[in-house]
Amino acid sequence: MRDKILELLKQGQPEYVSGEAICQRLGVSRTAVWKHIQSLRSMGYEIEAVTNAGYRLIGVPDRLYPAEIGWGLKTSFMGRHVHYCERLDSTNRLARELAARGVPEGTLVVAEEQTGGRGRLGRGWFSPYAKGIWCSLILRPSLSPLDAPPLTMLAAVAVAEALQRAAGLKPGIKWPNDLLAGGRKLCGILTELDAEVEKVNHLIVGIGVNVNIAPGEFPPDLAETATSVLAVTGRRASRVRLLQEMLAALEYWYLRWQKEGFSPVLSRWKEYSVTLGRAVLVTSHRESYEGWAEDVDESGSLILRLPGGQRQKICSGEVSLRPLHDQGLI
């Protein structure tokens, strides 16, 4: 009911909506309407109330409320079910639980703050309150687990497009799926796969985008390596708008991937790539390779040309881009 009243106020903007009209449309008493208006105000909505005119919405809080995400969302299933939390240990953790309970495909878990945000291999992810998009999506593609990993690159493409549309910022993608601006990390994506041998049960795509974090707000260990939309553009971006664009782009590429395979996604990925055609260092748990990032194959693996001329296929590992002045060394 509260969200329906909010919707009426949004439709009525910038005019007043009379209390009487709300009562009639929704079949509730004036007292009930007043209570819901109070509840919306406590959520941060600025609502003007004028005798004989009615209610008018004049300010929307900077929150990723489900009603805000849904307002103007252009998707059919991506982000159509939203689990919103102000504070959460990890959106991926809750998403896993929800996935096991069988929530629909495209269900979104979003938090204003993560107290235990996770990165790859147990690393943390800095997720301050209302300054980024900390979210996880639950997907259930009908695929063999063998074909699932390129989804991580697809997610990077979708977030890159969304950043261009909603914030006017064209990021670079470092293989496989880190989004960079000026060589610093803007967005990280951590995907978790739950599968049997022949089929994927579900995938959790965890996405963290640093949006309105001021440059001085990063903790010291991230100060040199992380950045945000605000730090790059000098402007605060609408997190709701950015998230809506992310969901739309994710749905678009996800459906194309299922219909046409990875090839169109890979072409788009290459347009954003800052890895290919450069000297890189790839470090993994056991070994490291230095070489020329020559290509990405149809499975999403990075093809490295080693100094000796032989080619090495890389399916996981951390890529460091060598400074451009070192490029002649290999």
Partner: protein
Amino acid sequence: MNLQEIKELIKLVDQSAIAELSLEAAGVKVAIRKSASGSAGKKADITLDTSMDGLVEIGEFLSPSCLSQEEVKELCVPGAAKPEAQNGTNGLLSVRSPLVGTFYRAPAPDAPPFVQVGDVVQKGQVLCIIEAMKMMNEIESEFSGRIVDILVENGQVVEYGQELFLIQKM
């Protein structure tokens, strides 16, 4: 068709002059073929086909009469013949990788491993992580048992279908 009936069927073929028998009933197709070379049919190929799972190759076995009830049961339950949980050489079961990627024994570099050799694991317990392109796949045990061997090193790249663990089923 139940397990007892299949067992009866195998015995029947074994003791008869029939070299090959195919039978289809209630969505289950059974094909039993005695090896031509074996003296008095000491070998038989048994193939179990269900409409749901496609062909499940059971393999070559010695005379069916030497199979225990338990072994016949294992052969005939379609789920028991999944690539990740095949009968090893010594009655051990192996856990195989469902994708190409990097094998991790622990959730983080400084964390203790999920399992050690000798550990008793429960069905559904996480054994390791396989990572490909920052997609993390927690591999769970398909059965309860004791870890007899860990066949790959931490951080090693594994291929699709590669054996990761040997487990003595309990």
